[in-house]
């Protein structure tokens, strides 16, 4: 007897515009059917080891592990998942690439596969399969995923880094809606501070939140670390303007943000210490999970204000997945990537992670999570809007090193904390960037 029928298969394979999500046995039936028709046949007795970034939202990980279990049931391929904190995935992957042994797959951030493009397998067939089926990839996904003509990683999803704010306090300060322009935003920050409900954004070595806001500020005023040919152009009047703006903004922050790493603002926001900050939607998710009703009602999210250059300059975290060349199970790994990004799996996963993940395939914009809760709608477009690491320049190892070395973040922190003037801070950043981008 056939364990599935064509109807369940089709339901599961079209992105969720339809309201029916497959669950339980029906989902498993779909998974089995998928395994039989998928273009990738796992190797005999294949076992995949996968190292991923450690979840920020428990429900997200639960949903992920559920789809892993279904993959195993449908294909017989066991998947061993290990978790590492976000900052540790890159060194582990780099060492595995260097030594030629380790997990078959890494799921990391930003331009990870570009650090060792020759050590990861060609995933063009998977990218094409998914792109055709789900309305194509957003531009940043193509930039992050492709090296030359080859796809070397699949950008599974993005984590929107948006502004989190308290509605009541903002309204009291005279802002019914969140500011859409940088100068309004500064006025907002000042008003919030004046009434004793200040905000704050991380200026410590915070790879996620810190990098997100300083790059937004730099780009919003037209500043750039490098140009399209990877020449360092940070020393510009635009950079100086963005630094002066950031300093003015910093004056309104709660004290201590120079020491903040990625988790400080979450704690401070949940404890009513700050009333606006930049973060993923994980604060909202944590408030929901902790039954903090008042907080849940009062919190909202907004996209980044637009600066003088007149277009959004958002910088969201990208999570690409890759398969290493030393893996003995490339087919099983490819099958797994395609499987996890099928609507039947990805849609419920996005819903359960309360919008923390935004897929890089346009068809997923129709996921009901973006409309069922208006507070999450802003995250729908983060994949489409985000600029990539290195922005105008290449997304390769130089851009990744510049991020890891906190060149832009330290430049802003230098100015904001008053340790250096604008000229001095730019000079240091320029010198650091030239070191990484030198061609000799």
């Amino acid at each position: 007897m056939n364990p599935f029928n064509r109807r369940t298969f089709l339901q599961g394979s079209t992105a969720l515009g339809a309201s029916v999500a497959l669950t339980g046995p029906a989902l498993l039936d779909w998974a089995k059917a998928w395994a039989q028709t998928a273009p990738w046949k796992p190797e005999r007795n294949a076992q995949i080891s996968l190292l991923r970034w450690k979840r920020f939202i428990q429900a997200e990980e639960d949903a992920f592990m559920e789809l892993v279990a279904n993959f195993t049931k449908a294909t017989g391929v066991k998947v061993n998942v290990t978790n590492e904190s976000l900052d540790d995935v890159q060194p582990k992957a780099a060492i595995a690439a260097n030594t030629g042994s380790g997990p078959d797959m890494f799921w990391g951030l930003y331009s990870l596969p570009h650090l060792f493009p020759s050590k990861v397998i060609d995933l063009t067939d998977v990218a094409d399969y998914l792109g055709k089926k789900y309305g194509g990839w957003v531009p940043s996904a193509v930039t992050y995923g492709k090296s030359g003509n080859k796809w070397i990683g699949i950008p599974v999803a993005y984590n929107g880094n948006v502004l989190n704010y308290r509605k009541a306090a903002s309204e009291k300060a005279g802002f019914k809606t969140f500011p859409k322009k940088t100068d309004e935003f500064l006025a907002y920050a000042k008003a919030m501070k004046a009434q004793g409900t200040p905000g704050g954004m991380a200026l410590g070595h915070a790879s996620g939140d810190g990098n997100a806001w300083v790059h937004w500020a730099l780009w919003a005023f037209g500043g750039n670390l490098v140009d399209a040919r990877d020449r360092v152009i940070i020393d510009s009047p635009e950079t100086a303007k963005s630094l002066e703006y950031a300093k003015a903004l910093y004056e309104t922050f709660i004290p201590g943000t120079a020491s903040w790493n990625d988790s400080f603002n979450n704690k401070a926001f949940l404890a009513n210490e700050v009333h606006w900050t930049n973060n993923g939607v994980s604060i909202y998710a944590a408030a929901k999970a902790g039954n903090m009703k008042e907080m849940v009602d009062d919190i909202d999210h907004a996209l980044w204000p637009v600066g003088p250059i007149g277009k959004p300059t958002e910088f969201h975290v990208a999570y690409p997945i890759m398969v290493m060349t030393y893996s003995k199970v490339p087919q099983a790994s490819k099958a797994f990537i395609a499987f996890m990004m099928e609507a039947a799996n990805l849609d419920p996963w996005v819903i359960k992670s309360v919008g923390y993940l935004t897929p890089g395939l346009t068809a997923y914009e129709k996921n009901p999570v973006w409309t069922s809760d208006p507070k999450l709608t802003v995250c729908r477009d983060v994949a489409k809007n985000t600029l990539t690491a290195g922005h105008l320049g290449s997304v390769g190892e130089k851009a990744a090193a510049a991020l890891a070395d906190f060149i832009v973040l330290d430049m802003f922190a230098n100015v904001c904390t008053g340790r250096e003037d604008v000229k001095g801070a730019v000079k240091i950043a320029d010198r650091q960037a030239r070191r990484l981008y030198r061609t000799s």
Partner: protein
């Protein structure tokens, strides 16, 4: 038959012609060499080879994921006028210097205290070891909370008492951050110094103190002319180790500040890790790590020549 029996070649050869191999078989030095070999192999494999490889990589442009080519001293040239690198050198020297002085002073004081007769002596000695036993990362996280910019119990308590009106910015202000990480390091390092010096104190023969008491020596004189000189070799060893551990510290800084704010607490070890492993520039990271070697060698030489090679240690009197 008789000819054969008298043939000197067959009858006397074992006595006259012991081969080199025969001699070697009973040579103690030769045997000793073989006994040393496993230890030497371990040292070469796990110490000399990585060290040599690290130094070699610092002369190449190796990135993570691909091997590099020899670039001479280019990495060092770039470091030479790199303000962040020199800041990390300054931080490392400050961190090591200040922390070591405090660890030595407090450690010695504690050791002398613990050497006295007191109730629950064994238990108190065990308690003193606690900071050393707790995994560094755990104690670093505890300090991280203590020094939190918003939720610090220290700030909270001082505010409640009324000493301060706003939170102390422990890890966000440059000098506060430096003193905070130094404090954490001192807290963690004291037990090692104290317990080792205590062991040294217990080897000082009580008869010397008795003789000094009869001669009417004061407590300070007893410390200055008996305890301190007899303790010097141990102090040299303990402080060499302590300085080396502090100089190469990584975990405390990484867990507490990641080198922030604005690199004010970046040590050479953390900067090397940031650039080599997170940034992927193995060549440059190795150059920073290699740049630590001269400092470490200097420490060892100072302790070796300055403190350990005293003549009295070899049974002669001091000049």
């Amino acid at each position: 038959m008789a000819d054969v029996a008298l043939d000197p070649r067959t009858a006397k050869r074992p006595l006259l012609h012991a081969t080199a191999w025969d001699r070697l078989k009973v040579n103690h030095n030769w045997l000793g060499l073989w006994f040393m070999l496993p230890a030497a192999a371990i040292l070469v494999l796990f110490l000399a080879y990585p060290l040599g490889l690290g130094i070699w990589i610092s002369f190449t442009d190796t990135r993570i994921g691909r091997s590099g080519v020899f670039v001479g001293v280019e990495n060092y040239e770039w470091l030479w006028d790199d303000t962040v690198f020199w800041l990390s050198v300054f931080n490392t020297l400050l961190y090591t210097g200040v922390a070591s002085v405090f660890k030595f002073a407090i450690g010695l004081y504690l050791a002398i205290l613990l050497n006295q007769h007191m109730p629950f002596k064994a238990m108190i000695r065990a308690i003193v070891l606690i900071p050393f036993i707790v995994p560094t990362v755990l104690s670093a996280i505890a300090f991280w909370w203590l020094f939190d910019s918003q939720f610090s119990i220290i700030s909270w308590s001082l505010k409640k008492i009324g000493f301060i009106s706003s939170n102390i910015d422990f890890l966000g202000d440059f000098w506060n951050a430096r003193w905070s990480v130094i404090f954490a390091n001192v807290w963690r390092g004291i037990p090692f110094v104290a317990i080792t010096l205590l062991a040294g104190l217990q080897t000082v023969p009580p008869s010397l103190y008795e003789a000094a008491t009869i001669d009417g020596a004061s407590r300070w004189q007893m410390f200055r002319f008996i305890t301190y000189p007899l303790l010097t070799p141990i102090i040299a060893v303990v402080m060499t180790f302590s300085v080396l551990f502090t100089f190469t510290d990584f975990q405390l800084i990484w867990a507490m500040t990641r080198g922030g704010p604005v690199n004010a607490t970046h040590l050479m070890a953390t900067l090397s890790y940031q650039r080599a492993i997170l940034g992927g520039y193995l060549g440059e990271g190795s150059a920073i790590a290699t740049a630590m070697i001269p400092f470490l060698l200097a420490c060892i030489l100072i302790s070796w020549f300055g403190l350990q090679r005293r003549k009295w240690q070899q049974g002669e009197s001091n000049d």
